[in-house]
Amino acid sequence: MVAGWFAGDGEDFRLIGTRCSACTSVFFPREDGSCRNPGCPGGELEEVALSRRGRVWSFTDSRYRPPSPYVTNPELPWEPYTLIAVELESERLVVLGQAAPGVTVADLTVGMEVEVVPGVLHEDAETTWTTWQWRPTGVTE
């Protein structure tokens, strides 16, 4: 569904972005067209793995079932999930993602350290759609 946004297993799982060879700007989701820095002469966009850990910029949850194209089973009761916006220090960008299953807003504070982990967005009989998720590391600021 989103080819090349993440890669690796277990400890090696990473979000994948691109970096401009001319100005070093980093893009996530990956920018494969041309560098979006208006002051850049334009360089090659090279694949780069983003930092594994970052700090919570903000968070919220979704108490009501989101509309399509989010895929849910209307037969099952709605289970809210948590969304976390995470600031990556070295890339100086904020990436939004779902929290790992079981992580609620009560478990989170702004500034808390989280790490990216592989997760499952949705699965049916034929396909498992994988994604990235954020999970607290237990380290607080």
Binding site: M1, V2, C20, C23, T24, S25, V26, F27, F28, P29, R36, N37, P38, G39, C40, W57, S58, F59, T60, D61, S62, R63, Y64, P66, P67, S68, P69, Y70, V71, Y81, L83, A85, S90, E91, R92, L93, V94, V95, L96, G97, Q98, V105, T109, V110, G111, L121, T131
Partner: protein, 396 residues
Amino acid sequence: MTDDVAVLGAGMHPWGKWGRNFVEYGVAAARAALADAGLEWRDIGSIVGADTVRGGYPGYVAGATFAKALGWQGARVASVYAACASGAQAVNTARAQILSGLADVVLVVGADAAPKGFFRPAGGDRPDDPDWLRFRVLGATNPTYFGLYARRRMAVHGDTPEDFAQVKVKNSALGALNPNARYRKAVTADEVAASAVVADPLRLLDICATSDGGAALVLSGMDFARRHGVADPVRIRAVSTVTPRYPNTVLDLPDIATDSAAAVQPAAETFRESIARAAYEEAGVGPEDLSFAEVYDLSTALELQWYEDLGLCGEGEAAKLLREGTTALGGRIPVNASGGLASFGEAVPAQAIAQVCELTWQLRGAAGDRQVAGARVGIAANQGLFGHGSAVVAVR
């Protein structure tokens, strides 16, 4: 030579869930604006429609759709889409035509029949579309974004859910005084607190609903206004339509991530701040000159953010401004005297036009029970998805 544009007429179709076609709302608003201006539709040299994308072809070609419904009369036509800023861009298109001499008098119309519940992207599998992706990959609805901003304000500035609720209390009390508002009942803080959480920390009554509605304006050059016998009209002095500057470091709809600031230092001002600054510079006024403001309170917390972005107070001081009553009717700078989106709900292409209708009525002293005493300068501010800035300054 003045760059002012006269507002000769303003009109609305009341907001609500009426279950009819958006064209009906637009035509009703247009007729009301024409009547207010004392002009016939046949007198109009140009029509600009703010697009709704949920109406299929007729929505995408709103200008022509309204022109046909009003009766083809050969007017110049344009249709514009800029998400929530569509109405402001329609006003700006009309203004550009007037100031360039392409048209003497222009009708601007926006109307929508919004879907129930969450807004959602257009149909089909479109993984190259950021709006489709944020729903498909994250389930990130508009309220979840509002929740992120609200939580961030709580963490950084110490705002509380009780502060957010007070925005609703203020706006609903004003909406109760506005015959065009959908919700005309004052809401208490307890009622906000008792409503269901939608996106932590925001509750149902912190978030604006989706609505049907329409709004229209008749705009002209100052010479036309004088010839028409209007010596001292409400004037539009500035329309801000800026885009963000790279790197845009505030997470925003519909994006999943911000730009990186690793290579380029971000500007000192945020995108929303730059929207207001551009309008102030063009109008030659500052926040200290404002009599009142209309802002997009898509959520209660977002209204507080606008206080700071408009320069009504310093960063982090918005809740204090609210608590002191400064932004209530009777305060130094009333915000959303119309009742805001809290009382209207979203009818996307109409709402920025509706804001200018409110500026007009307030500056004419014709706002009835919700009148801001001595209103001379007003600003309307909003932000459209995909990087559309929008602010209008009107004066009397």
